[in-house]
Symmetry: C2
Subunit: 424 residues, 2 copies
């Protein structure tokens, strides 16, 4: 694909996306559904962007955009706030994540007539298991609710972003589409390695930045560092040794620790603000592009063909998988039933499922011949790629529309009018 | 080339580039020479980045980086300041630019044994005719000099950026490497069209942004608009009608008018600051990448083979071409001889020649068979590509080192101690 054409399509998506986001802001509605519909409009409906072009651009925009989104999201999260709700976060980000992944997977398999435990379904479960900080944070800046509950949901959503990516690469491994031996060991190697690598780079950067002021050069330093982590964990180490770590998760951990360290030192306020502002701006660009190109990736044929099963799967993911995951994950955690209901119904999916949905779908199409017999016996590579794309699209669209709309109403019904200070 | 490898190399360039830029700042020296040498180090000397990889990455980084650099550079230039020195700027950016292009071209041809007026030389002249705002602005924030002189050199350098790009595409046209009929008509069509398109988009955006506050969404709006101008002028229109306009010049004009309009309205201060900060940060990243990858594009063989002719050409460009251009361009302009000497010796080349040098060199290699006989009779495509790359590298390196070092000394010698307020 010619670079100039790609620049034109990117420009179009950014300009129209800015208008759509502005409209969403004006009417106080979340921008994700409108951006997805904008993608459908310029893609399959008007045919300005073909689904091939959208897919091709996504192969660059998705992976690079996620770097900025994870950097920006984790950099402003405070470790001290996190510590207070840590037991709940760990349960939500491990037990709830895995259970809702499995339940979503079973629903996906049952709807499509595959055996319940077929890995094909778990792939969909992994793609859609991460909840979205970029949806939750604006929601809780408007909804009056106990800050502790808001922080739990926001922190959960920040950390399940990299974990959703790790989970997806583990399931891809069981399908022979990435390096993998044992999914459970993989999960811990990938995330454990990421924690070590991320903290190590954060400590090195902390020493460097507190020793010598980097001013505006802190931006290339931190962004470049994130890129190196991704390259090291996901490419160089696996190719050299057969073992790697999740680069995306390492980026999130690095940003969390470095952000916290710089935030605490008033003499590094300038550097802190540089990184926050720049990553926020880059994340905004990346979000607009990821949602618009997800919409544009879908062809009209696919949308019609997979609409009904995707709708059922999306509703199952929202009303069954997430609630079961939350209730089992937080059993005997000291949270009230009302709090559990609120957590269960506030897990909007967003930019990470969007990015993973498209890249996974492209990966399956490209490696159709490598897909194992225990999958292709039941579903063709093409149908699996299409189903994952459309079902992910529907899950994001519905979860954001529903859960952002009822966030305030539900809080009032469950907890009454909240009189204290809100979180943002 | 795999995306993950590209991400790794980009990350490496950004991290090392940040350190090098920090070192340059500490010792108050310009960062460009150090970034170029860093490129040589990671490229040909240590072999971490091969010249093929660097060239491949440059095909994306160069064109996209220039968008941000032109947006950022023009957005903060004030039309009112410009008006005061407009006659001088117009002469410098048209007459001086064309004469120094021609003289550089003749020197290039003579050194390499080509007929003096061979277009091959003018290609080098066009690539290296733009002076660099990013070098001049920090220089004049330290050197005490009449602000009028500093503004003239800075404004000249901002507007000859897009004109250098237009000139290069015109000369490429005479070599059959881009659409072109008549170079002089082309120059005016490309730049005239760009002025109209740029002002039109600026007026539309001014209406929209002053009507409805865009807050952070102003960044995708303006950057996306710049991308659309580039696509429209350099790709869609030429492909549809055979005529286009310079997209890069349109971006600079759009940013100049929009920046001026938003700056004047206090109610748009927020939007103005958003765009300035974001473009500054993106430009910084783009500059680091452009200089490092220019250095890395050069192979050791090439450097040795073309070193001596490149050195002579670079010195000719600095000490003959630019001075002749300035003196002829500003004849009877009311400027004193001392001012002319200062203008003549302060024209450091920077990021635009770097980007053009690499892309032109790649273009020549890719289209070796299309190069006309009146060029290949004297020099092979490979040698021309290599000479343009190495001579551009040397011209940037020497002009920045020399002209940034003597800027203060020369000002004191020519004009004595300046007591008034400086420009920055």
């Amino acid at each position: 694909m010619e670079l100039m054409l790609a620049i034109g399509l990117l420009g179009l998506a950014l300009v129209l996306g800015a208008f759509v986001a502005k409209i969403a802001e004006k009417f106080s509605i979340p921008d994700i559904p409108l951006l997805l519909l904008l993608g459908l409009l310029v893609g399959p409906i008007l045919g300005i962007i073909s689904s091939e072009e959208a897919g091709h651009i996504f192969e660059y925009v998705g992976p690079i955009g996620l770097i900025f989104i994870l950097l920006g999201g984790s950099f402003t999260m405070r470790v001290s706030l996190l510590r207070k709700v840590l037991p709940t976060i760990i349960r939500l980000d491990i037990i709830t994540l895995i259970i809702s992944l499995i339940v979503s997977g079973i629903i996906f398999n049952l709807v499509l007539g595959l055996p319940p435990t077929n890995p094909a379904g778990f792939l969909f479960g992994a793609v859609t298991c991460a909840t979205d900080p970029a949806t939750l944070i604006p929601v809780f800046s408007k909804v009056k609710i106990d800050p502790k509950l808001a922080i739990i949901l926001e922190a959960e959503s920040i950390f399940n972003d990299p974990l959703g990516i790790v989970a997806t690469s583990v399931v891809l491994g069981t399908l022979g589409l990435s390096h993998a031996k044992n999914p459970i060991i993989d999960f811990f190697v990938l995330s454990g390695g990421a924690i070590i690598a991320g903290i190590a780079l954060a400590k090195i950067y902390e020493k460097i930045i507190t020793h010598a002021k980097f001013h505006e050069y802190v931006a290339p330093l931190v962004i470049g560092g994130g890129m190196l982590l991704l390259y090291l964990g996901d490419y160089l180490l696996p190719n050299l040794t057969g073992y790697g770590f999740s680069g995306y998760m390492a980026i999130a951990i690095m940003a969390l620790y470095l952000g916290d360290a710089l935030f605490k030192r008033t003499e590094n306020e300038e550097e802190y603000k540089y990184i926050v502002n720049f990553c926020d701006n880059l994340s905004l660009l990346a979000r607009v592009l990821i949602f618009v190109f997800l919409g544009a990736c879908i062809s009209l044929d696919m949308l019609i063909k997979y609409f009904v099963p995707s709708l059922i799967i999306a509703l199952g993911s929202i009303f069954l998988a997430r609630p079961i995951g939350v209730f089992l994950g937080l059993i005997k955690s000291g949270h009230s039933i009302k709090e559990l209901i609120y957590f269960a119904l506030e897990g909007p999916r967003g930019v990470v499922p969007a990015a993973l949905g498209v890249s996974t779908s492209i990966l399956i199409k490209k490696n159709a011949d490598k897909l194992p017999g225990f999958v292709t016996k039941y579903i063709s590579a093409n149908d699996l790629a299409g189903m994952i794309l459309v079902a992910t699209f529907m899950t994001i669209l519905l979860s954001v529309i529903l859960e952002a709309s009822w966030a305030g109403i539900l809080a009032k019904k469950l907890f009454g009018e909240y009189k204290g200070k809100s979180v943002h």
